[in-house]
């Protein structure tokens, strides 16, 4: 099963190496990892997607919690959450296929962000399924290059992931 972990970390040098190193050392596979700032200065948020059964994910979370710079680990796949990934696709686009491609992009609510004589770059965001679907369609025209940001996720509703204690509901 696929799991998405949200990890709040102190933004100190080496923290990414600590987290990534833990995965490789203990033989856990990461599908994707993203890092970014949060509203709190000095605290970053990582989103890690990984494949594994319950026991593996439990062990991953426990080991992550042991890292001193890790403030909070939560498994977002156990609750309703919004998950998004951004992808840029460079696709072969001859003058006669351009409008077809354009139509596909519109259907997926993507954007064309660059056009050249025989290629286009398409920007599209969504969950795994959606991204895989557009890739499948565009393969028909010839995909030259893909880059993906990896998943980010937020819990649905007013609930937030905070550094102290469990995820809690805000009063509003």
């Amino acid at each position: 099963m696929k799991h998405v972990l949200a990890i709040l970390v102190e933004n100190k040098s080496g923290v990414l190496a600590r987290v990534a190193g833990l995965f490789s050392r203990r033989g856990f596979n990461i599908d994707s990892i993203t890092v970014g700032e949060t509203t709190e200065p000095g605290i970053s948020r990582m989103t890690i997607t990984l494949e594994g059964d319950e026991a593996v994910v439990e062990q991953v979370m426990k080991q992550l919690n042991k890292l001193i710079n890790v403030l909070k680990v939560s498994n977002l796949s156990q609750e309703p959450a919004v998950m998004r990934e951004l992808m840029l696709i460079k696709v072969r686009a001859e003058p006669h296929t351009r409008s077809d491609i354009q139509q596909i992009v519109e259907t997926f609510r993507g954007k064309v962000v660059d056009v050249s004589l025989n290629s286009m770059i398409i920007e599209v965001t969504g969950n795994d399924e959606k991204l895989e679907a557009i890739v499948l369609l565009l393969q028909h025209y010839g995909i030259r290059e893909i880059v993906r940001t990896g998943n980010i996720a937020l819990l649905r509703g007013a609930k937030v992931t905070r550094e102290n204690g469990e995820a809690r509901r805000s009063k509003g």
């Binding site: 080496g14 190193g21 050392r25 439990e58 426990k62 080991q63 919690n65 710079n69």
Partner: protein, 554 residues
């Protein structure tokens, strides 16, 4: 500033080795009151600090220089990490502006030690230093203990700053749980009351948390037999009738049978190492398992747990003792007694051969010291023989590298043990292979005139490797025979220690008596029967009730 912080932490002794990047630190040490032990290799400095910490129960402190000084520490740090030993290691680093340029004696020691430290730091400025040192001591010695390394660039050491030191400061991402969940403890009470075939399996955590007295009370009150992992020998008296001995690969038959047939296993501060469990799928298949550990990640890591309790073992047992009621274990204890009578420990094959038996030497040490000595070992056959044949009675009297299995640990650890407990008789029992891995420390012990004894069980080979080759590789003794071994007694003499060499039982007894009667370092080179193997034995990845005993092979 570093020295001032160490004084605040009441550090009495530092183990270390100077070099270019720590010159400012050693200069500050020159006028300080803290004792510094100069080992002859950085690895020995960590092992000595580790031995000190295991005996004293507080962090051992190590200094080393950048580059090779720091990398020489790695084995010692990994040893301490695997056995949860509190250490604070301070390494010098090249000056800040040189970091990352592959400068002279530069090594990324925080990167290298990332997976073998509980935490580590590269200090960026003098302002960070007091906080970092305070955090390091706090992290090393609380929760599940472990080594913490602080890498300090030379220019930071030379800076001046205001010193403001606050011990045990709170760290946002670090909050160990000490108190066990009351509901879980209630479940534990119920399980103990209902159990008919319970076994307590205690590990090193019992010693680290100082729970030996509580363990004894629990076992005796509830009439539950106790098996101790290698790391916890001494946490329960070896001569108590409820003691089963060590379990696992070279464990006692009764201990392995008891774990296999138990209906309840109470695991206290143990981590179900593969050397204990054997083939996991067949380990304790009939038992409900309670696991008490301060590290939540250990619970359920190797073995599924029925009643998990995160907390400090001592506090949890204390809480438990308020409510626990003994179950009926009389049939079970009788069964265990039968196993113990039927499968006594082998004192060696063909004891009448006239050859000196290692088991005999260890039993003599036990007899002559009354089991009250502080014993360190290296790794291999001699380590297992000590675990089997020496009767440990008190916690913190047996120091051995259990997790990492580091040859070369025992001798330097004995130095640390002696400094931690100067009144104790300290004996390092080692092998001819292991001793040579840190034999240079003879200079350290002669220099300090430490009253410690080294007993080399010399079989002229890497005994445990040779044993596996005999049993599992059709006697192809590939690279396990140590031709060219020196006469260890003469080596000791050359360093200025007393050296004795023995090859019979009578000589061994006389030499041990002599060694224990003189002050100062003594090395006894015991030429033992090289064919002797460690039995009982469970083959790797076999269930622990499938036991090879020496008798099968006679």
């Amino acid at each position: 500033m570093i020295i001032a912080a160490l004084e605040h932490e009441q550090v009495e002794v530092i183990f270390g080795y100077p070099g270019g990047a720590v010159l400012p630190l050693y200069d500050a040490l020159y006028h300080a009151q803290i004792k510094h032990i100069l080992t002859r290799h950085e690895q020995a400095a960590v092992h000595a600090a580790d031995g000190y910490a295991r005996v004293k129960g507080k962090p051992g402190v190590v200094f080393a220089t950048s580059g090779p000084g720091a990398t020489n520490l790695v084995t010692g740090i990994a040893t301490a990490y695997m056995d949860s030993v509190p250490l604070v290691i301070i390494t010098g680093q090249v000056a800040t502006k040189l970091i990352g340029t592959d400068s002279f004696q530069e090594a990324d020691i925080t990167g290298i030690t990332l997976p073998i430290t509980k935490h580590n730091y590269l200090v960026g400025s003098i302002e960070e230093l007091p906080v970092t040192l305070a955090e390091a001591f706090y992290i090393a010695s609380t929760g599940r203990c472990g080594p913490v390394l602080i890498d300090i660039p030379k220019d930071v050491m030379e800076q001046e700053g205001t010193f403001c030191y606050e011990r045990n400061r709170e760290i946002p991402g670090y909050r160990p749980t000490y108190v066990g969940h009351p509901g879980q403890i209630n479940r534990m009470v119920k399980a103990i009351k209902e159990a008919r075939r319970p076994v307590i399996f205690a590990g090193g955590g019992v010693i680290r948390s100082g729970a030996a007295a509580e363990l004894r009370e629990l076992a005796i009150k509830c009439r539950i037999p106790v098996t101790l992992s290698l790391m916890s020998l001494g946490a329960f008296p070896g001569d108590n009738p409820l003691f089963l001995g060590m379990p696992g690969m070279h464990g006692m038959v009764a201990a392995n049978f008891a774990l296999t047939e138990a209906d309840l296993i109470i695991a206290l501060g143990a981590r179900f190492d593969d050397r204990v469990t054997g083939k996991l799928e067949q380990f304790a298949s009939e038992a409900k398992i309670i696991h008490v550990d301060i590290d939540p990640a250990e619970i359920g890591k190797n073995v599924p747990i029925d009643i998990p309790i995160v907390g400090d073992v001592k506090q949890v047992i204390r809480e438990l003792l308020k409510r626990v009621q003994p179950g009926d274990t009389s049939d079970w204890l009788q069964r265990i007694e039968e196993w113990q009578a039927r499968y006594p420990l082998s004192e060696g094959t063909a004891p009448s051969s006239g050859k000196l038996k290692p088991q005999f030497v260890i039993r003599e040490i036990n007899r002559l010291t009354g089991g009250k000595a502080l014993i360190t070992t290296d790794v291999g056959q001699h380590q297992m023989w000590v675990a089997q044949h020496y009767c440990f009675r008190e916690p913190r009297t047996f120091l051995t590298s259990g997790g990492l299995g580091t040859m070369g640990y025992g001798f330097p650890a004995a130095i640390g043990a002696k400094l931690a407990s100067p009144a104790s008789t300290v004996i390092c029992i080692t092998g001819d292979g292991s001793f040579q891995m840190n034999i240079q420390e003879l200079a350290t012990v002669v220099c300090g005139n430490y009253d410690l004894k080294v007993v080399v069980l010399n079989n002229g080979c890497l005994g445990m490797v040779r044993q596996w080759q005999e049993l599992f590789f059709e006697k192809r003794y590939s690279q396990s025979l140590l031709h060219g071994n020196p006469d260890f007694a003469r080596v000791a003499e050359a360093f200025g220690a007393t050296g004795l060499r023995v090859s019979t039982a009578d000589e061994a007894t006389a030499a041990l008596e002599k060694a224990l009667s003189v002050r100062g370092p003594v090395v006894i080179d015991c030429l033992i029967d090289p064919a002797e193997n460690v039995y009982p034995m469970v083959a790797p990845n076999r269930p622990i009730n499938e036991i090879i005993t020496g008798r099968d092979l006679e």
